[in-house]
Assembly symmetry: C2
Homo-oligomer: 452 residues x 2
């Protein structure tokens, strides 16, 4: 959105809220008429779900389905809960199979049978087939409606097939080429077909295909599709038989959701189902409170560590002054390592197999950082307080940075190895863990250096 | 990548390293031969830049350009620095204009004139035109090679235009429709052209176009392209004249880079130019040390605050025990708010105009969270230590959570308002800021409640 459009949508949202509260539905309808589909999507993302449902009902039927398909999965789920059964059933019949599966994932399992009953037999079979694949697999996100080419067919024959499928196929711009056993042997682009002669064979034009296994993680398959700039990637079963196709626009949508979830978890928040402004306060609180409680319970470790060293603290209060600085620096160093490794994992650049390589890198990086900060800390604390104190601070920084970088680098790999989202061992989690460790290191060094 | 492929690439990288160190280039070449282009890209991402340059030289010319275009912009820049001038000039001539501009952005400005001289006049003009748009604008990332349709032409005439442009145009699947003044009046898809009759007019088939302004932020334009699942979006100048096209694969590439930069800055790290495993240790240190120093200097604030309250601390050492817990909880609350708002900003869901709305939400969310944690803190600290201490802890948690959520929510908006990347006011930055504020609140409450 350009700024001017945003202003319009924001103002339109205010108008709509006011008109709905005054029960002026014709007025609200008039506000909606000049807006484009993307603008209505934005508008819906700014309204509470009850108002959003009213807006949705005010739309002409042809626009309603376009708006619905452009909404985020979370918003669709919420909206459907606010609609009446008959409205949902009509909507459901209009959707593509992959959108249907996505919607069912957002709804209570009990409504699925009822919605599926409203479909034609073929539609029901396509949708039910996809529901059979595991959650998070690409089998749930692909489209089962594709058009194929065959190696022994001519370009003219293939173009005829394409024309026949224009209405139903998810894409006609990239065609999987399959042999007589439905196995994928390559892909051919419509562009290449158009530039060839009518009697050229597909086998002369086709290229090696990037393929995804239907059980593969949806994010990994989507990442590969966009990384290689493929307009569409064939999805195959364990016998290499074509079962679906993943288009780049669907891949981008999968990645957007995954990135949002990763970003949220990295900050210690549960991902929101809807946009920030349309999420009620109690939902925002709920998305944060569990993490915050877990982290606070973790942080009571620091109270216990300090309690154990209370005698030392009472003897030398000056030690307390540096506690936030030292554990803060440790937390930052750990976060830096975790952020870098988590992102590399998401991009497929490192795997849990690389654990020793990552550890050896992070130990060295952490040690270098610790040496730099430690020297600075030694000089400054030495000048301002005493050289003994400076020595404690300097040595602690070296040790804490090395340990923190190592823990921060290893944690995401450990999470992935035990099949947990690496972003769950998030920065706040690492901070809390490093805090307690850092305090123990600090007081042990202090006792050793100061002889108390 | 499926796990088995990753293993192969990882092993191939080890083999290549060994063979290159033994100067066995024919051996290295034999390892490369069976690998696909994506596998070679992964391999290059695992090697140091010197080894990567050797691998690149070993590739057949036709594969070399494919590999090069699939590399990340950072890796391309590094690789080019490691190649000889004659190699670069040949490579540069083979690239698409948008890839060329992306590469020039990664190289020192002084090499641009030399590289541009190696191009044909037309290629040079296309590339130079793009270089005239501001850094970070979509003008630098679009493709200037497009094929257009016109409203008064028939389908048959348009398809002839498409066939003539198959070799040069960036995409032929979405055609901008322009009037006689080169102004964009709509788009038409190849699919719609194929399903129409030969003598239908384009004006009957075309739809409203989503367009981007050439000066618009590249990330915003890319986000819109993927959000609406557009295969391509026309890019226009201030007079609505078509100047380029943004395809969805390029949009996904822009978003990938932006997401990586955001993720890095959120963790307080400068984004890496290359993959983690191929980045030398000194580069990793450099990507972290500046942030860490800035944050450590910020954290000396906490030392000063504690120093100011040292008398209170010496009088009641038990207060020191809760310092990490309290500031940690404040930091976490601030991070949660900042993470949510930063992501919403990136997705275009909120803008700096929404500042009061965000503030009012975060004050309420923070207060609710503080009330929950504060009650818990009051009871636990009261039971274990004293009820007076419990009261201090409880009240501090309420105040700190409210303040932290507000600061965390506002900071990203403030950054955007002053045109700084919101991710730069990152979580560690907010933590540090909230730490000092939290300590002041803590000791003021302690002094008031305990009367010391």
């Amino acid at each position: 959105m350009t700024p001017s459009q945003l202003q319009t949508v924001s103002e339109a949202a205010d108008d709509i809220r006011r008109l709905i509260s005054q029960s002026d539905l014709p007025g609200a309808s008039a506000v909606l008429t000049p807006l484009s589909v993307p603008e209505i999507v934005e508008l819906v993302d700014r309204l509470g779900i009850e108002d959003a449902a009213i807006v949705y009902r005010l739309l002409a039927k042809s626009r309603a389905i376009d708006v619905f398909e452009a909404l985020s999965p979370g918003t669709r789920g919420e909206l459907v809960r606010a609609l009446r059964n008959v409205e949902i059933t009509a909507l459901f019949a209009e959707m593509d199979p992959d959108d249907r599966v996505w919607l069912l994932d957002e709804l209570p399992a009990s409504v699925a049978p009822q919605l599926l009953r409203g479909l034609t037999r073929r539609e029901r079979e396509l949708t039910a087939g996809m529901l059979g694949y595991p959650q998070d697999s690409i089998g749930r996100r692909m489209s089962p409606e594709f058009v194929t080419a065959h190696p022994h067919l001519t370009v003219a024959e293939t173009l005829t097939r394409v024309r026949a499928a224009l209405d139903s196929a998810e894409t006609v711009y990239t065609l999987p080429v399959t042999d007589s056993g439905r196995r994928v042997v390559g892909v051919v682009s419509l562009r290449d077909l158009m530039s060839a002669s009518d009697d050229d064979l597909v086998s002369e034009l086709m290229r090696d295909a990037h393929i995804a296994d239907v059980m593969e993680d949806a994010e990994a398959a989507a990442r590969r599709t966009t990384d290689y700039g493929l307009l569409a990637m064939p999805v195959v079963d364990s016998e290499q038989r074509l079962v679906g196709i993943l288009t780049i626009d669907d891949a981008a949508r999968i990645l957007k959701q995954e990135e949002s979830e990763d970003a949220a978890r990295q900050g210690g928040v549960e991902p929101l189902r809807r946009s920030y402004l349309s999420t009620p306060i109690r939902r925002l609180v709920r998305s944060r409170v569990v993490w915050l409680l877990v982290l606070a319970v973790g942080a009571t470790l620091t109270v216990q560590v300090l309690d154990a060293f209370e005698a030392t603290l009472a003897q030398l209060t000056v030690l307390a002054l540096f506690v936030p600085l030292l554990i803060g620096t440790g937390g930052n160093t750990g976060n830096q390592a975790a952020t870098t490794v988590t992102r590399s994992l998401a991009l497929g650049e490192v795997t849990p197999r690389d654990v020793m390589r990552v550890l050896s890198r992070e130990v060295r990086v952490g040690f270098c950082l610790g040496l730099l900060l430690g020297t600075l800390g030694f000089v400054l604390a030495g000048l301002i307080y005493e050289w003994h104190i400076g020595l404690v601070i300097g040595l602690t920084l070296v040790a804490v940075c090395t340990v923190a970088a190592s823990i921060g680098g290893i944690m995401p790999l450990a999470a992935r190895a035990i099949k947990v989202d690496p972003a769950v061992f998030s920065n706040p989690f690492i901070t809390t863990f490093v805090d307690a460790t850092g305090l123990i290191i600090y007081f042990l060094i202090a006792k050793a250096v100061l002889g108390i």
